[in-house]
Assembly symmetry: C2
Homo-oligomer: 478 residues x 2
């Protein structure tokens, strides 16, 4: 029986040479190309036929006997009786697979900006070069030195106790919250926090409201949790639901960014916040307050968070260290009303099996020693300078008829474009010039129309701003 085809090209990728015969022989047996009961040549003979070492043949035979694909007896080696797979494995690549779910397809965002995080105007990227490596690594080292075997396991429900305590203190000082550590759940960042809210507070088929224009990743989390997403317009005071929204699309979840609406930068008025709480309570809806970037406020004191306005209002507050420290850290948190905290904490712990206890202990240490506050203060000044420089450059360059908004908090501005300059086209040209801007219209859903650019300034060098704005003007000129 000739078996020389076993080692014929094309060779599969990444298979170590010595395993090639084993792999090919197994494929041939499993797909039925060598029939059950077939006797194989003695290892010496097959090695000679194929021109390979006898050891390779013996390895293949022994392994396949162990896997029950071959049977060895006193007459030699034969192929075992197995259900054959339908087709030759060499041709399987064109067989169709079930594919991804419809919700995965719906949640998939446009590819633009995939690698844009490293580009100068990329939104949502903090000053990575300003990250306090030394003090952070010192906190990490301490946490590892003091690590208990308990911290190598899953964290207790809700996260590492030291971090929950440090955060409760931080939120009291900065946000005026009177929260106990037990009301805090440490998450894997904002996206993971929104995902937990979507799954633990709403069922498949429930309606979730998002801001229009709004944060795209929030929509993805809601879609993937099986929720119906309804986009509600934003006006000068923030989310502006009409009676039609409440009647035709009664929400279970209402996602808002009141401190600094994403992406327009609008601050939600206090009156609007109070109305939203009352109405949400009456309708049995949860408000999810994504307080992203509130740490980087400029000017006077912040409006109270929706969460802080009233004890036990139906509000979950979501925060993150992605922009105050670094995005890859993947530590964020949710703050819950005390009445549901225990249940939510327990469900979240079972949904995600949380860990990273040592990193969380390091972060608690970093906060307790004051490094976090120091870093925030430094960054706040730096971002204020950058924003001022960017606004000045945008105003100074010829063709400065454009309107700039946002920037009361956060790390980005919105540059509104005249209707005749389609923002997606400007985006494409700007990104060919290596700028990393994002078109505002990508964040909107009909009937809302937006035309502009989101310009992140967290990670740019002031010295380069003039040159970057010159390139931006170039992209805006037709």
């Amino acid at each position: 029986m000739a078996l020389d085809w076993l080692l014929a090209a094309p060779l599969p990728p990444a298979v170590p040479r010595q395993r090639l015969l084993y792999q090919r022989l197994r494929d041939a047996i499993l797909c039925g190309r060598i029939a059950a009961g077939t006797r194989l040549p003695a290892s010496r003979r097959l090695a000679a036929e194929l021109g390979i070492a006898r050891n390779s043949v013996m390895f293949a035979y022994e392994q396949l006997v162990a896997e029950a694909c071959l049977v060895a007896d006193r007459h030699g080696t034969r192929v075992a009786a197995l259900p054959a797979l339908a087709a030759d494995s060499g041709r399987t690549h064109d067989r169709t697979l079930p594919g991804l779910s419809q919700r995965a397809a719906a949640a998939m965002q446009p590819e633009v900006g995939r690698d844009a995080e490293t580009l100068p105007f990329a939104p949502g990227v903090p000053d990575l070069a300003g990250f306090p490596f030394r003090s952070w690594r010192a906190s990490l080292d301490r946490a590892w030195r003091e690590a208990s075997t308990r911290q190598l396991g899953h964290t207790p429900y809700g996260g590492e106790p030291a971090l929950r305590a440090a955060l409760a203190g931080q939120l009291s000082t900065v946000r005026g919250f009177a929260v106990k550590p037990e009301q805090i759940v440490i998450t894997g960042g904002t996206q993971s926090g929104l995902d937990l809210c979507a799954r633990l507070l709403a069922d498949s088929g429930d309606t979730a409201w998002v801001e229009n224009p709004g944060y795209l990743a929030a929509r993805a989390a809601l879609n993937l949790a099986g929720l119906k997403v309804h986009a509600v317009a934003v006006d000068g005071e923030g989310l502006a639901p009409g009676e039609g929204d409440w009647q035709a699309h009664p929400p279970r979840l209402i996602m808002v960014t009141p401190s600094h609406q994403y992406p327009t930068g609008q601050v939600m008025s206090l009156a609007r916040r109070l109305t939203l709480i009352e109405r949400a309570r009456a309708e049995g809806a949860w408000i999810i307050e994504d307080d992203y970037d509130s740490e980087f406020r400029r000017g006077g004191p912040a409006l109270p968070a929706i969460y802080g306005v009233q004890h036990d209002a139906p509000v979950v507050y979501a925060g993150t260290f992605s922009k105050t420290l670094y995005p890859g850290l993947r530590i964020g948190y949710l703050v819950l009303p005390s009445a549901v905290a225990d249940d939510f904490v327990r469900a979240a712990g079972q949904a995600t099996r949380p860990g990273q206890g040592i990193e969380q202990a390091a972060l608690a240490d970093f906060i307790r020693r004051g490094h976090y506050t120091t870093h925030l203060r430094r960054m706040r000044k730096r971002y204020a300078l950058r924003q001022r420089a960017l606004r000045a450059a945008l105003a100074a360059h010829p063709g400065a008829e454009v309107r700039v908004s946002g920037g009361e908090a956060g790390l980005h501005l919105v540059l509104w474009l005249p209707q005749e300059r389609a923002d997606v086209e400007v985006e494409a040209r700007a990104n060919r010039l290596g700028l990393g801007v994002r078109a505002l219209s990508r964040y909107a859903q009909a009937p809302v129309r937006c035309n502009g650019l989101v310009l992140g300034y967290g990670n740019i060098d002031e010295a380069q701003i003039d040159g970057l704005v010159r390139r931006l003007r170039q992209a805006m000129a037709v």
Copy 2:
């Protein structure tokens, strides 16, 4: 106007003393207890009335003006016109909130074993004291020293390239997989990987099969993703679906643990694996192969993973470092058929916004330098010794009529109990003695009945085994 009630007890928790007046005054204004338009006393007068420093009153007034709760004009300070919140905030604790979702309630597991991870027989806990702190920290240090600002951001889709490459190599050597790094998605551990499969490969209302008895956390992930869970019995060859299962509950996902069925320890036969692939393909279903604990196999070579049997079969392979390194690490992975890898990788990247680039680089370094293989070899020997000692102790003690199974791979044995000893009762007694065992019946759903105990031996000290088994016998005696 007397305002002395503002500082009456009870004092809210965690509010700094100097902010107390501010907080109470804000609550009173927002809930309408002090009406819109009301003039407040001058700061000096209020300070005298309350017996506090005038600065505290001024702080409160200024902050509340900034928040638009108060209006300051030349006549003094008055309460702004705001929509009042419905009730006195002091009484809000008994108002009802919307509560958790139905799926969260359904996914909630019994509290037993919540803190059991630190107890000797806790299933699924590896030898934490044997963790190679020194070489791991050296890899972490190197990764931090060499960290690029890119690695502080989100990782590229699929995870840190160095780790995907190292894993492809590892899987080729250990599992015989011919996979490219592009087919691998780094996840936040098995639970996060199963959750991704549930959301990206199935839609709300689709049916997912689980093994019966089976891994409880898998059910939780499926429930939370809005899937219908159908439990399929396991026999001596592994998952044993009848024609009725296929007809009445056609699956979109089939979750299996073929290397070492959880919790019974059964190995799925090759014939059963091949049949499952063929049938899943015909029905348009995905097989999710959770290959947990296959690293700790004893005896001969492993059966091929279902994933490796055929190129581009509808199989996703899930692995984790939780038990080979430590549970809190939160790094696992999925391996995908090449035909869907690109789409899945992109959808997963958008669903989770992955990070931990530096930890992933450290793990790649740890694998490349051979520390991972060395550690696995050491642990494999150690776990084999522990298992042997545990089996010997179980056999030696009086009343040894019980049957022990499992242990061909992994970190636990199953001790089957006679029907007259209800396992949940033995569990309760054993855990009162600090043992941390789990009742087998907790993993089963009707009509399957199991009665026994799952005994983890990953994290116990051989010297203590005799004493522990003596306590276990005590719990089993009526």
